[in-house]
Amino acid sequence: MIRMENVHKAFDDNHVLQGMNLEIPKGTSMVIIGGSGTGKSVALKCILGLIKPDSGMIYVDGKDAQKGDRDAFLARFGMLFQGAALFDSLPVWQNVAFRLLRGSLKRPVEEAREIAIEKLRRVGLKSNVADRLPAELSGGMQKRVGLARAIAAEPEIIFFDEPTTGLDPIMSGVINDLIREIVTEMGATAMTITHDMSSVRAIADNVAMLHGGVIQWTGPVGQMDASGDPYVEQFISGSAEGPIEAVR
């Protein structure tokens, strides 16, 4: 389980998180929605320790996320970045098997390559992609490789940062379905940040609306449309009228 308690983070005068509280039960898929610049990515990076919160506590399975063995902590996570964040200088299979080629999860090269190709198949890519460089792939293929890398070491917790941004609707649907399938079959805890409502409906068990540095509403995805929360309603409808200022 992941729990954020009263987390604050500011960048100079920009107070991004202003006491964020959130709980993600183990084995569930939480999707955080909110406009651009509302701190969704910051919240996610705070949990991973990529950004240090100014105050507040973050717990993973009851343990303080900022203390303890960092390698062991990070080994439990997989992450799909917004732009895939593949390493340009490495072929696709080495990107996927990156964690399996070094560190505490190191395997023999042949075994790591086999696992990488298996994971590539799992995300719908053929084995002939394995030896290509990331720059030779389309945006959708790069996202799939990023997804394969995120699940390569079978993590307990997977984060997805804007998984469908920049993709066409069909490829977005493919990625959404893949994420849902993988999270279900792995039994992983998932946290996705997005402002794509089709992703929310496809991926989420629970939804949280982040605005003004705090969670405005959270609940099961089935209750989202009838939440009665003006922020959620405006976000779902995409209306310029409502409590969320259209000009930010």
């Binding site: 990076k45 991973l48 320790g49 990529l50 960092r70 390698d71 990070l74 080994a75 996570f77 997989g78 992450m79 970045f81 917004q82 732009g83 964040a85 593949l86 390493f87 340009d88 200088s89 990156f98 964690r99 070094r102 560190g103 505490s104 999860l105 890398r149």
Partner: protein, 260 residues
């Protein structure tokens, strides 16, 4: 602007400069400490050796040969004013080994390697590849910085030695082909005049300049701002800082080796 405001601005500028020095010094200490602490990344180190050492040879060689040749012509022309044309071999040797070899190789490395490291790491930063490294349990200082700094520490002295030899060869070629020097006498004068201290200073300068070049590239890359402009600024800043620090370090090391 009144004198108090002016003084305030000056103070702020000095504090900001000292803070920047402090950040670079802490980064350099951290980078060097990671060279000695596992895990090590031999593949990254091998690639850095290739990029910093082997692939810099053409530019180092060309710079050195033209500089050595020009130096021979200048010394010959200048020496002729007081009938001292015969000192060409000695001055070319001492000029190349003590100063021009290390400094020009250092500046070429700053132009070629520092810029490349800064641009690569800055691009990795803006495309979240550095964050991806962290989430994959890989320390960016160990994976990106330590191999590059170690490779520069080891290869730049070798490049300087090669540059020294090629520069002297350039002077030799011009002196024997255009200025009428006897080849055997030229070589004998070169070898007889150089001291061990000259060669040691050249290699030590090479090592220092290599470390400066690599650390500046990594530091500016890691602290890059967002977008293409951030990458551009990081690259420009890294080359400027590396070039100035190399020239300052050259002054200090020359003082250490030859003023004591």
């Amino acid at each position: 602007m009144n004198p108090i405001s002016l003084l305030g601005e000056l103070g702020r500028a000095i504090l900001s400069m000292l803070a920047a020095f402090g950040r670079v010094a802490l980064f350099a200490l951290d980078a060097v400490s990671h060279i000695f602490r596992p895990p090590f990344y031999p593949r990254e180190f091998g690639i850095a050796l290739l990029n910093i050492g082997w692939l810099s040879l053409p530019v180092v060689g060309l710079t050195a040969i033209f500089t050595g040749g020009a130096l021979a012509l200048q010394i010959y022309a200048g020496g002729a004013r007081f009938n001292a044309e015969a000192v060409v071999p000695q001055i070319v040797a001492i000029g190349m080994v003590r100063e021009l070899g290390p400094v020009l190789v250092g500046l070429m490395i700053a132009a070629r390697v520092t810029s490349s490291i800064a641009a690569e790491i800055a691009t990795m930063k803006v495309t979240e590849q550095i964050d991806a490294l962290v989430t994959l349990s890989t320390h960016p200082m160990k994976y990106l910085t330590a191999p590059r700094v170690l490779a520069a520490l080891l290869t730049v002295p070798v490049l300087v030695a090669i540059g020294d030899i090629i520069g002297i060869a350039g002077g030799y070629t011009v002196a024997t082909q255009n200025l009428g020097f006897n080849p055997a006498a030229y070589l004998k004068n070169t070898v007889d005049f150089l001291e061990v201290r000259d060669i040691v200073s050249s290699l030590v300068k090479g090592a220092a300049f290599g470390v400066i070049a690599a650390i500046m590239g990594c530091y500016y890359g890691m602290s890059s701002g967002r977008g293409a402009q951030g990458v551009g600024r990081a690259t420009k800043g890294s080359v400027e800082a590396a070039a100035v620090l190399i020239l300052a370090a050259n002054f200090v090391l020359t003082g250490v080796f030859f003023s004591l």
